[in-house]
């Protein structure tokens, strides 16, 4: 299973590396979304931070949510790409014929998405710090949030991506399925990032726990159901 996962992940990353879709299209898209948020939310508007009476710009205050929204939209592109590659030219049949362990395929595909998202988050996150200028209260917590959220989004996303695999309506169906499911993840990631950036940390760790539990749940669901999803057309 692990060997199969490694094969699939290596293959997907190699495809990304050689086609440069991630670096040339998805990441610029994520950064663009960040910039466009600045048009929608007036950058000069200031709000009172909850304690101490210091004021922050509205964008700075909203930066955690905006960042994760940008990541979520980029995830949809990455997912679409990940399954478009398999849908082309009878590859889905070939995957079935190859005798892959379905759990391995799930782990491999979601693993590749995790790697891609982490790269994307590094770039888009840097962009968010530069554009919105929030403080950083707890770097360790921020890392924990990023890792758990990435896992949660990738596992759930891959499961729903496979649900749409091989269908003509995939492009529109997958976002409809994924977005409500990831709504709690977006919520939790935003709250946790808020406390990692602005403090206090205590509340953030609870949300990190929630994100971890969500990721585990979808890891299990994906491993169990990928056989039925992928092996029948």
């Amino acid at each position: 299973m692990i060997e199969h996962a490694r094969l699939i992940a290596a293959k997907d990353l190699k495809i990304e590396w050689s086609s440069r879709v991630l670096t040339a299209q998805v990441i610029p898209f994520g950064v663009l979304v960040l910039v466009l948020f600045g048009f929608g939310i007036p950058p000069d508007r200031r709000v009172l931070a909850s304690e101490g009476g210091a004021s922050r710009s509205l964008l700075e205050q909203a930066s955690p949510g905006l960042f994760w929204l940008a990541v979520l939209f980029s995830l949809l592109l990455a997912l679409n790409r990940s399954f478009a590659v398999e849908a082309a030219d009878g590859n889905l049949d070939a995957l079935r014929l190859a005798g892959f362990d379905p759990a391995g395929v799930f782990l491999g595909k979601s693993g590749a998405i995790v790697c891609e998202l982490l790269v994307l988050e590094l770039v888009v996150g840097t962009g968010a710090f530069l554009l919105y200028g929030p403080p950083l209260h707890d770097a360790l917590q921020l890392c924990a949030v990023v890792v758990t959220t990435t896992l949660a989004m990738s596992f759930a996303g891959t499961l729903y991506g496979a649900l749409g695999a091989g269908l003509r309506l995939r492009d529109t169906l997958v976002p409809l399925l994924v977005l409500p499911v990831l709504a709690p993840v977006l919520l939790a990631a935003t709250r946790a990032t808020e406390s990692a950036l602005f403090g206090p940390s205590s509340e953030g760790w609870a949300w990190v726990g929630f994100l971890g539990a969500f990721a585990l749940l979808y890891l299990g669901a994906g491993i169990l159901s990928f056989g039925s999803l992928l092996e029948e057309s």
């Binding site: 082309a88 009878g90 590859n91 079935r96």
Partner: protein, 225 residues
């Protein structure tokens, strides 16, 4: 002397809601090279996909290598043991020839040496190895796809119009490959319109018409055995 490899009885298989196979009876023994013949839309491709464990059996019974095609676990066992060359080449455009062949070979637990040997054998080794599949000609794609098949060393070869899009040299190569595989104990089912080519190869011809398979005893072709 000859063990049964494929045994289908009254198989109905659907594409969407269309019965591509409507009660097909079909049997193949070990070491045979069976030629499938028939007009377009007769169900040849679906017959091959059923034998590959890909198309599901809606009605009837089917076994390949003794594994039940009506169960998912049986289908999974069958899939591991067959090689299917279909109209689609099942290659990743963005990857090189070498990456593609090695990926699919590794998936089937074949070693790197087998993959390399297969590429050389099909004439896509050397300079072509490091070219992306997107940049290949149709014939070269097909050769690459065949290299994957050869590297996997399947026990049952399912070839759907294998000669299409290949030059004379490539066609000879296919015949040679099938011959060699059968010599080593494999079995082959070939769907083709090019009778003159396959006649020399086939031990038996089966007509596929209207989603059914009909035995034909052509001149000079003894039945199974």
């Amino acid at each position: 002397m000859s063990k049964p490899v494929v045994r289908l009885r009254g198989v109905v298989s659907l594409i969407g809601r269309f019965p591509a196979l409507a009660g097909a009876d079909f049997a193949v023994s070990e070491g045979e090279v069976v030629l499938l013949q028939g007009p377009n839309g007769a169900g040849k491709s679906t017959l091959l996909r059923v034998c590959a464990g890909l198309a599901s059996v809606h009605n009837g019974t089917g076994e390949v290598f003794g594994f039940d095609l009506t169960t998912r676990s049986g289908q999974r066992e069958v899939r591991r043991r067959v090689g299917l060359l279909s109209h689609a080449t099942a290659l990743y455009d963005e990857l090189t020839v070498e990456d593609n062949v090695r990926f699919w070979a590794a998936a089937a637990n074949a070693d790197v040496g087998a993959a390399d040997a297969a590429m050389d054998r099909l004439g896509v080794g050397g300079r072509l190895r490091s070219i992306r599949v997107a940049g290949l000609s149709a014939g070269q794609r097909r050769r690459t796809s065949l290299a994957v098949l050869v590297a996997r060393r399947p026990m049952l070869w399912l070839l759907d119009e294998p000669h299409a899009g290949l030059d004379a040299e490539g066609r000879d190569l296919i015949d040679e490959l099938v011959h060699q595989a059968v010599g080593q104990g494999a079995t082959a089912i070939v769907a083709s319109h090019e009778l003159d080519r396959v006649d020399s190869l086939a031990t038996r011809t089966v007509h596929v018409v209207g989603g059914q398979a009909m035995e034909v005893r052509g001149p000079g072709q003894a039945g199974a055995g």
